[in-house]
């Protein structure tokens, strides 16, 4: 990363890290994880419950906090653009400086209580690492989407509404629509369209990755079941991980492109 980008990242990150919302976010995960580990039975069950919390909350917070933060930072972004720094370097620093603290707050919030309660137990370590990795990458995905939305719409209410809409679509509505279509076209070979549908949703990809890892087919959802059947576990994890990483890269590159060309 270029020098100016690194400088921007440092200041942006120290600003974000001191935000009370970020502390509340980390505290939320710490309390939820701690409670599940204390009263939720064994750590495996706690991890499984956490999967659903993570898949819902991480995208929501990254998208909404991201959009709000970016609209608030509008004027300051203009001041930064007026400095002798290239736009790509500036974007890199601003994006990473927002996404990394968010991902960090999540990782510490979930990771710290887990290590405290079940730190010595190696059976859960791989699953925990997978959960933290999926949550962190989903943070990158939805922060990048937040950037895209905030850059493309001048209107803050509209930007925020679209962010919430996108979150609803990916976490709640999507699986329902897919299931509906699958029932409606049950007479046709649907395997490939369904796989495509799943790869097109980062939250689905995250869910499949985690559940393949945990090996609990009952919680897969419709697309996940097809996915597992098609790829099996090992290949499934590789394909899912690749898909999720593409989801982190492509919106970020798209946002960079918009940032690079935009008239502020």
């Amino acid at each position: 990363m270029s020098q100016p980008a690194w400088k921007v990242l440092r200041y942006q990150a120290s600003n974000v890290l001191r935000s009370r919302w970020l502390l509340a976010y980390a505290a939320f995960f710490a309390i939820a994880t701690d409670a599940l580990l204390r009263w939720g039975g064994d750590p495996a069950a706690a991890l499984l419950s956490l999967v659903n919390v993570v898949l819902l909350v991480v995208p929501l917070v990254a998208a909404v906090f991201g959009v709000m933060f970016l609209y608030d930072a509008r004027e300051f972004t203009e001041l930064l653009l007026a400095q002798p720094v290239s736009r790509p370097a500036l974007f890199g620093g601003l994006y990473a400086g927002l996404a990394l603290p968010l991902a960090g707050a999540f990782v510490v919030g979930v990771g710290a209580p887990f290590l405290f309660h079940a730190g010595a137990d190696e059976r859960y370590r791989a699953a925990l690492v997978m959960l933290l990795a999926v949550g962190a990458v989903l943070t990158l995905v939805f922060t990048a989407l937040a950037y895209l939305l905030a850059l493309r719409s001048e209107d803050r209410v509209r930007g925020l509404g679209t962010a919430v809409g996108l979150w609803l679509l990916f976490t709640v509505v999507y699986d329902g629509i897919v299931l509906l279509l699958a029932t409606a076209f049950a007479d046709y070979p649907l395997e490939r369209p369904l796989l495509a549908a799943m790869v097109a949703n980062p939250v689905d990809l995250g869910r499949v990755l985690l559940l393949l890892r945990f090996d609990v087919a009952a919680l897969f959802g419709y697309t996940g079941a097809v996915f597992k059947q098609f790829f099996g576990s090992a290949l499934g994890i590789a394909v899912g991980a690749a898909g999720l990483i593409l989801w982190a890269v492509i919106p970020a590159l798209a946002a960079l492109r918009v940032f690079h060309r935009k008239n502020f």
């Binding site: 100016p4 200041y11 120290s14 001191r18 930072a73 509008r74 300051f76 007026a82």
Partner: protein
Amino acid sequence: MLAYEKVEKRFGRHEVLRGVNVEFRRGRVTALIGPNGAGKTTLVKCALGLVRPDAGRLVFDGEPIGDDPGYRRRIGYMPQIARFPENLSGAELLAMIRELRGPGVLTDEELLRSFDLSSALGKPLRTLSGGTRQKVNASLAMLFRPDLLILDEPTAGLDPLSSSILKDKVRAERERGCAVILTSHIMSELEELADDVVYLCDGVARFAGSMHDLKLHTRQFNLERAIAHIMKEHAA
């Protein structure tokens, strides 16, 4: 110092700048005047690289402005709205911009001293009053001894004492040889500070020349009436 050559910019259907030719010179304060929506902000943003012209070009100190952001090292910009990262302190903000400006920049901290900002700089920026933030904003624009200074409504929100400190500083910058672009809605303030006037309306410079010539040309005694005269002339 900065010349616009046939600069055009449109946003969608709306033509904001329609071939602007103006020059901002060293050692002169130029008042940029125009009705709301005349394109003042867009004009200034072109110089900062925030907006890219569709046609025409800008020449900064003899060099056309292109993709290299280096020329902005010599520009100080004071935006109208001073909003900074909430949780950083003023000192951190200054350090950040200083780092982005690159090593070996000579700084001019006179304004920080005259505004007596030393205790305010230690606090998070969100806790500062609007006026204090505006003082930080002004100090930041003049911190790096710019060759071109762009001030957008600089005295808005400042008390009379701070406002006069700022005006004195603007004059000092002019004496140093800095080119200053100033926008304001307060005509008396512009009349007090400006040597030249650019009157922008409907995306073209209807008048560009010295304050003296403007008054001579319109046969009016003060800036407000002279501008009113041009507006009326144009409407007729």
